[in-house]
Subunit: 112 residues, 2 copies
DNA sequence: CCGTATCCTTAGAGATACTG
DNA sequence: CAGTATCTCTAAGGATACGG
C-alpha cells in the first residue's frame, strides 16, 4: 500500500494514473521537456487550453513537486516554469506514448 | 497532421493522450498485459470500476482495435478480452508509468 | 454471466471579465 | 504579463434495476 497526501493506492501504477488523469498535465510536461517556459508560451503552445485551466494544472504540478515555478520581480511580470528532477523522469513515459501514437496512426489513421 | 476517425491531431502524442484521457483504459490494458481476462475478472480486479463504465471502456478499446473480444456460445455466457498487437505495444508505456509511480512514492509518499 | 437502460451527481473545463 | 473570479455547461462516471 502506498500513501500520498492521505490518498491510498494499492499499486504504484495507480499513483501515476491518478496524478495524470486529466486532459492537460502530460501536455505541460511535454512542453517543459524541451526547456523552461513562460506562462504565455505554454498558453499559446498547448492546444486549446484556457488560461484558467492552465493555472490550475500548473499549480497542481507545483504542489506535487513535479515542476518548479520561478517569479521575477519585474514589470511586466515574468514567471518561468521548469521540470523538477522527478518531473524530468517522465521523459521515458512521454517518449513511449509519443512513439505509440506514431505507430497507432500509421496502422489505424491517416497522415495529411 | 494526423487524422483518426475524423479527428485531427497535430502531434502523435496528442493521439495517445486523447485515447487514454479517461480514468480507466490504461488500467484495463495493464490487467490484460498479464494475459486474457474474462469480464468478471476485470470487474473485480480493477479498483472501483462500475459494470457500466467497464462495458463502455471495453467497447471503446475494441472499436479502436486495441483489444479483442471473443464470446463463447455457452450458458452461462463466457466472454474473453485480450490485447491486440497494437495493444501489446503499450507495455513500454505502462512499465514506465509503473516505474515512475514507484519512484515518486519513494521520494514523495509513504509505503505502508 | 455479461451486459443495457435509466437516472443522477459531480468534477473538469471553457468564456468572459477583472486585478496586481 | 500572469494570474483570479464567476458563471455556465457538458460528459464521465456511479447506482440501481432489468434483460438475453
Amino acid at each position: 500500500m502506498y500513501q500520498i497526501n492521505n490518498k491510498e493506492y494499492n499499486c504504484s501504477l495507480a499513483v501515476s494514473l491518478d496524478i495524470f488523469n486529466d486532459k492537460w498535465k502530460l501536455y505541460i510536461i511535454w512542453q517543459l521537456l524541451s526547456g523552461e517556459k513562460r506562462f504565455k508560451s505554454l498558453n499559446q503552445n498547448i492546444g486549446e487550453i484556457s488560461q484558467k485551466t492552465l493555472c490550475i494544472k500548473l499549480k497542481e504540478l507545483e504542489e506535487k513537486n513535479i515542476i518548479y515555478r520561478e517569479a521575477f520581480a519585474q514589470v511586466p511580470l515574468k514567471v518561468v516554469y521548469s521540470l523538477s528532477p522527478v518531473g524530468k523522469e517522465l521523459k521515458d513515459v512521454l517518449d513511449d506514448m509519443h512513439r505509440w501514437g506514431k505507430h497507432y496512426v500509421k496502422t489505424h489513421g491517416k497522415i495529411t
